[in-house]
Amino acid sequence: MAKESMMTGCRAAAEGAKAAEVEVICSYPIRPYTAIMMELAKMVANGELNAEFIHGEGEHAQVSVVLGASAAGARAYTGSSGVGVTYAMEVYSPMAGGRYPVQMSIADRTLDPPGDFGSEHTDAMSTRDQGWLLGWAATPQEVYDNTLMSYRIGEDHRVMLPQMVCQDGYFISHIPDKVTIGEVSQVKEFLPPYRPIHPLSLTNPVSHGPQIRPDQGAPMDAMRAQTFLAVPKVIEEATADFARIFGRKYDPFVEQYKLEDAEIAFFIMGAHSNTARTAVDKLRKEGVKAGMARLRWVRPWPTHQLAEALGHVKAVGVIETSTSYGSAMRGGNLIHELRASLYDLDDRPLVTSFMGGLGGETIWPADFDYMAGVLTKMVKEKRTDRYVYWLGM
């Protein structure tokens, strides 16, 4: 029977990897994701999971090891947090370009400084140009679900891309919540075994990662971009199939909460969306037509889906828990792509951003009241005063 228990996001990720029957795991300790590896180590030691558990000498080694494992045809799994994610930066593009559908489970952590165990999304967000699939979960249940869905999407032959399954460190990774683990039969139906296209082989020798000429660069890049045109359909199919088999329905790209008749909306990603939902309920009771759009996938960015979901809203507040210093809006990174998504609409919403949750601090319900006040004022005055507001500053 599918059983429900209380577990942290890290444990949920480990359960997801176990359900997916990963074959090679490469670990290196860095908190908060490290609890995932501790759980997996226990499972491997107890014989619950038959996987090769390798301890890398650093995050760069971790990602390199799983690249090799995937090239040899194994379903590989690794993870990191904070500066660990940026330490492995070199290997991300080869991984995506070589089309190895490895999964990396990221429990966000602030980058140094301060490098504290609280969550900021900048660590994984800074890899968004490398060609991986990149998505965020908002509850431990969603971490488990995303682990399975990402393998299914990433290993689909129309995609064959590595995936980063991200969760907020501490909030999701270390605070327990209800999670229902799937049954073996459900997982088997949803997630077929990994079938590599050209694995390293003694009988059919191939070369992985050879030098290619500069004039082959542009076509190679274009073909990788072509893949991303095909990914959204695979995401939709996988999410629908997941709902059919496991009974948990997710909007494939954007979770829409009370948006249909909303005048102001919060655009948010990750754990703080849970507080946002309660804030929206409270604002609605006070007569404010508020709504929330929660982004699930950063890569591929759901341009059209966001335009459709938020196009009728009058003012959107992007809540950023990541920084992009010197960027166009001088704040975070989500606002740029959101504004771009809404740019071509005839009657586009006013968009501003709020820097909140930085340093891994909580975004309080009172902060949402403040943000709603700013957005309401923008609607009334029909103009965007500023691109970015730093909560508390």
């Binding site: 001088r330 501003t352 103009r383 005063d385 500023r386 691109y387 970015v388 507001y389 508390g392």
Partner: protein
């Protein structure tokens, strides 16, 4: 086609939240108000001036530089701001009873009452 474009706004960090430039702080030599680890300790090292032979083992052993040797007066001063009560100085002291651990709660002073743990 001049139109009032949105601005970047201002960022006013409240004075009590300002962080030193580049998070560079003065080294904790002597005293340094930004590093408060004195609330880690459960015991405090107390030096008996008569039994102390001024061998300076405690001065050298302290990982937080909490024993300061004053040449005039030939005395060792204990700086409580960083002392975490690790008792390495007590373990290193060769003289019986010259340096003992006393529960921190026996002392009225040394109250820091931080808002949040450091």
């Amino acid at each position: 086609m001049a139109k009032a474009l949105p601005g970047y706004g201002t960022i006013d960090v409240p004075k009590d939240r300002v962080v030193p430039f580049g998070a560079v702080t003065p080294a904790p030599v002597g005293t340094q108000p930004l590093f408060q680890t004195s609330n880690w300790r459960v015991v405090r090292p107390v030096r008996d001036d008569e039994k102390c032979t001024r061998c300076l083992q405690c001065y050298m052993a302290c990982p937080d530089a909490c024993w300061v040797y004053k040449a005039e007066g030939e005395t060792l001063e204990w700086v409580g701001d960083f002392c975490k009560g690790c008792q390495v100085c007590i373990a290193q002291c060769p003289e019986e009873g010259a340096l003992v651990a006393v529960p921190e709660l026996d002392f009225e002073g040394g109250v820091v009452r931080l808002e949040k743990p450091f």
